[in-house]
């Protein structure tokens, strides 16, 4: 099982990495409405940000959906990101290091590349911090919203990848300051949806929040 899960995690890592990278894809969308430059530029104008989110996992193997709520906090002065799934886990990324705390607040060992899933989270958090997104169009066909809305749809190019990920849709807020929603649809209609609330920008976030839960 461990081997299998490891392999699966690797795929997760790759696919999620693609998501991160795909966000940085060349602006194939209408350049007048939605460009990568605008996206990056919009992300630069805050020192701190807090955005609450709800994650809904609709998994075909489970009778009921799994709903997690949480908060994403960013402090650029500290170079830190806190990604909290309320009551489940807290991930803190600071000084280019990722720490993971369990539901009881106990720190769990995060061994660098040991868990690719964690590494993927670290990559995403790093991107939140510096606002830079790498490009990776070779794996996905990136389709802009036909009506010009700030939305990108990523469809895997390879049939093999399509067995795991059908599509990924990212919707940004109109002012491009943060993502508004993200929907991942996997084969067999496994769906994971993130809905982000309105972000609070340049607010006071105690630095202790980036040290421990």
């Amino acid at each position: 099982m461990r081997q299998f899960v490891s392999a699966m995690l690797m795929i997760t890592c790759c696919v999620a990495g693609c998501w991160v990278a795909a966000s940085a894809a060349d602006p194939v969308v209408n350049p007048k409405l939605f460009t990568l430059d605008k996206l990056e530029e919009a992300g630069k104008h805050f020192r701190t940000m807090r955005v609450a989110f709800t994650q809904e996992k609709h998994l075909a193997i489970l009778d009921e959906p799994v709903i997690n709520k949480g908060v994403l906090e960013i402090n650029r002065d500290l170079g830190a990101v806190r990604w909290e799934f309320t009551g489940r886990s807290v991930l803190i990324f600071k000084d280019d290091k990722l720490r993971r705390f369990g539901a009881e607040g106990k720190e769990e060992t995060v061994a660098g590349g040991k868990d690719p899933s964690i590494q993927t989270m670290a990559t995403q958090m790093r991107s939140f911090l510096d606002g830079k997104w790498g490009g990776m169009q070779e794996l996905f066909v990136i389709t802009p919203d036909p009506d010009g809305a700030p939305e990108l749809t990523f469809t895997p190019r390879s049939q093999d990848l399509k067995k795991y990920l059908t599509k990924l849709v990212i919707r940004f807020r109109d002012d491009l300051s943060a993502p508004q929603s993200m929907l991942m649809i996997a084969n067999g209609d496994d769906r994971t949806e993130y809905r982000f609330e309105r972000p609070e920008v340049d607010i006071e976030i105690p630095s202790a929040r980036f040290s421990k839960p």
Binding site: F4, M8, I11, C14, V15, R88, D96, A111, L139, L161
Partner: protein, 788 residues
């Protein structure tokens, strides 16, 4: 004795002009020689077994890998990992690249191939392991763990992937890969150790470790990186052949730098004390320098490459050639050079005959050495005989060493019985040491790697296992199946676990066996499993129907598709398998890696495979290659030693044509060699091919001394130059005793002992056997000052 005729200045000018042109020609030809550091070109190619392993190991180019291990010492584990990642751009610039990393698409395709071919990929024992997860309680625990994992907020694809192979049977097959390296994670090219502390950056290097310059550059870069990392609290350790090669080259360079100036200084001091003339000291070395150029030019003329490792023996050639220079210069300065011509020619011819015996050797190293030394000696002799008279003028003076050397000679000439008694006692004491002599059987003992390098490798192997396999079971056949089947059979009979070859590319026969086991397994347990699975899912609020793809797969299959190399195309396994399965000239070759750490087991592997009598399977191990190489060299060196001895005896007998002088020339070096190797035997030293070759040089210089001391009438005049020859050789080679490299210090030790025993044997035996000077000559010694 009459003095030599006075020199003719006009004739010397012509000689000088001729030699200037000749030297220029030699240097021009030598400069056109192709120098090579390719050690493999020096290896024997006449032994089928050795050749087979060499061709195989070359084809696998396994040694082109380097690994940098990192761990935190004060910093955090993430710092260590980041430190390794940061290294890659720097190392790219010096020829090391990250290993090809699997793309997400190739990983997904791999899982697809695994799932499609489960019945032919999973062995019966692996199915038994799967069966343990299907027990009444085990299955529910397993599903509970799966659910827990899939519902983690940060996990996104476990649920999707598990639907296709819920029992992770494909993962069982992947264990064959996991067994090779202890790492559990692989991200951005860095492998993580299960201890969470150690990380590994494996890299592919574009050049051979034998490329001295590039290897040094790579290692310098890594040393600098390790130093910088240390300041950040991260320890970096380099593992791989490049570090060992660099250690050896650095050790040799340092040793040469520390010993050569010392040796040269001592030699110059000795020779100056003998001649009291800088011009004479310089002149003594002219034949040696021209001899080395001549040796290189000879190889160039016959179209051979000049192996740099053998240039080290130029120092020994210098030793012989300097003898010519010392004797001739001394004779010229005393005005008695005419008397030196015959012994000089004799000495040269005997040495040439001796080293000619190396030329027919099938071992390229010995063959090239023979050509090189013969060419060098001839040029050295010619220059000593015809160039030195043009540059050395007659300056008779009292021999400064006379106060010491002449009494020694008198003492040695005084009593034949006493000398023979001393020789007999020494021989009785030292000869039994020969019984203790052993040829080296562990090539690692010739390795000059630093202790820290070996310790790092040991620690690495304890932690990670082997970096790359150096041991293989190999089979070649007309079809792939005919090669796969016997290898798998040999592996089973040896009790070795499956390698990636047997796991992912089983023979047709094995695939049929596995699919039969698969069908038996699911026929017996399938229905129970499905019933229990549905019930457990219900208990855990999971939907059994979502796993229908898995449940459909877990059934007997009538005719499952067999897997071939082509199926692994575009998966991360394609590269691995293509290295292990090759096709050359219509024949398939399969190499099944054997990851053994236990040294004893590795040593016994070739014999164990041979005992199986499973044609065409054989074992290719680097250790066996090294042992076989020593064996082949030992055999050829034995033949060459016999040939050299015969050549010397024939040459001496033909040149001298008198029994006593012949014996006087042959016996001392023979006795000296017995003493030398007897001493080495008592010291417990193991012989290397290099010490044996050095033995030949000891014999050569010993004969030179004996040749000069054989003439009773010239003995007193020649004793100081003879002692000077031996003393300079001891100074040059004795300095090597302080070398750290085992090969260099071993050569220095053999030469130093050999030269010393040569001098003692020649002084004790030559006068006894060749005869003492006439009585009337001896009083005159005091009147006629021997000049140098």
């Amino acid at each position: 004795m009459s003095a030599s005729p006075p020199v003719n200045p006009r004739s010397h000018r012509w000689h000088l002009l001729g030699w200037s042109l000749g030297a220029l020609l030699i240097i021009v030809v030598a400069s056109r020689a192709r120098f090579t550091s390719d050690l493999q070109a020096l290896l024997p190619d006449n032994d089928p077994e050795l050749n087979r392993i060499l061709v195989f190991l070359n084809g696998h180019s396994a040694s082109h890998m380097i690994a940098i291990e990192g761990w935190a010492e004060g910093a955090t584990s993430d710092d260590a990992r980041k430190c390794l990642l940061d290294l890659t751009p720097t190392l790219n610039a010096v020829g090391a690249k990250l290993l090809p990393q699997p793309s997400p698409g190739s990983m997904v395709h791999l899982i697809d191939v695994l799932e499609t071919h489960l019945p032919v990929l999973i062995t019966e024992s692996q199915l038994d392991e799967v069966g343990k997860r299907m027990g009444p309680e085990a299955l529910q625990d397993y599903l509970k763990a799966l659910k827990e994992r899939a519902t983690r907020p940060e996990d996104q694809f476990t649920a999707t992937a598990s639907r296709m192979d819920v029992l992770a049977i494909g993962g069982s097959a992947m264990q064959a890969l996991a067994a090779q390296v202890a790492g559990t994670g692989f991200a951005d090219g860095v492998v993580s150790h299960p201890d969470g502390k150690h990380f590994l950056l494996p890299m592919d290097v574009s050049f051979d470790p034998g490329n001295v310059y590039l290897t040094a550059k790579l290692m310098m870069t890594l040393d600098a990186a390790a130093k910088a990392a240390r300041d950040k609290g991260v320890h970096l350790e380099v593992i791989g052949a490049y570090r060992h090669f660099n250690d050896n080259m650095t050790s040799l360079s340092k040793d040469f730098i520390s010993t050569i100036p010392l040796g040269i200084g001592l030699i110059i001091a000795l020779l100056y004390s003998l001649t009291r003339s800088w011009r004479a000291v310089v002149a003594m070395h002219v034949p040696a320098l021209l001899g080395v150029a001549g040796a290189v030019a000879t190889l160039a003329l016959v179209g051979k490459n000049v192996p740099l490792p053998l240039i080290g023996f130029a120092a020994t050639l210098l030793g012989v050639a300097v003898d010519y220079g010392i004797q001739m210069t001394a004779a010229l300065r005393s005005g008695e050079h005419r008397h030196i011509h015959a012994p000089l020619l004799r000495s040269c011819l005997i040495s040439v005959c001796a080293f000619s015996a190396l030329v027919p050797s099938p071992v390229p190293a010995l063959h090239v050495l023979g050509i090189m030394v013969v060419g060098g000696l001839v040029v050295a002799y010619l220059s000593a005989r015809w160039l030195l008279p043009a540059v050395v003028t007659m300056e008779p003076m009292l021999d400064p060493w006379r106060r010491v050397t002449v009494p020694i000679l008198h003492w040695c000439e005084k009593s034949a019985g006493r000398n023979l008694l001393v020789v007999a006692v020494l021989t009785l004491c030292l000869a039994p040491g020969l019984a203790h002599l052993r040829m080296i059987n562990d090539v690692q003992k010739m390795d000059g790697s630093l202790p820290s390098t070996r310790e790092a490798l040991d620690r690495f192997m304890e932690r990670w296992g082997t970096l790359e396999s150096s041991n293989f079971l190999v089979a070649s056949a007309d079809t792939l199946d005919h090669a796969l089947e016997p290898v798998a059979q040999a592996r089973r009979r040896l009790g070795l676990p499956l390698s990636s070859i047997e796991q992912f590319l089983p023979s047709d026969e094995e695939q049929t066996r596995r699919s039969q086991a698969w069908n038996r397994f699911w026929s017996a347990k399938g229905d129970d499993f499905r019933t229990r699975f549905t019930a457990d899912c219900s208990v855990l609020k999971m939907r059994a129907v979502a796993f229908s793809a898995s449940l459909d797969r877990y059934r007997p299959v009538d005719d499952p598709p067999h897997i071939t190399m082509a199926d692994w195309k575009d998966t991360p396994l394609e590269l691995l398998l293509s290295k292990l399965v090759t096709r050359n000239a219509g024949a398939w070759q399969v190499a099944s890696p054997v990851d053994l750490i236990d040294r004893d087991a590795i040593e016994k592997l070739p014999q164990r495979v041979s005992d199986l009598k499973l044609e065409p399977v054989w074992a290719a191990t680097r250790r066996h290659f090294a042992a076989r190489l020593v064996e082949v060299l030992k055999g050829d060196l034995g033949k060459r030693a016999l040939a050299i001895s015969l050549a010397i005896i024939v040459a001496v007998v033909l040149l001298v044509r008198r029994s006593r002088p012949s014996l006087a020339m042959l016996l001392p070096p023979a006795i000296a060699l017995v003493w030398t190797f007897g001493v080495l035997g008592w010291m417990g030293e193991e012989l290397t091919p290099f010490t044996v070759i050095v033995g030949a040089f000891v014999g050569g210089i010993g004969i030179d001394c004996a040749v000069f001391l054989t003439q009773p009438e010239d003995r007193e005049r020649l004793i100081s130059p003879v002692i000077a020859c031996i003393a300079t050789a001891i100074c040059g080679t004795g300095a090597m005793l302080v070398a750290h490299h085992p090969l260099l210090s071993g050569v220095g030790q053999t030469l130093s002992i050999g030269m010393s025993t040569c001098l003692i044997a020649c002084l004790l035996l030559t006068p006894v056997v060749a005869g003492r000077r006439a009585a009337e000559q001896r009083p005159a010694d005091a009147l006629r000052p021997p000049a140098v």
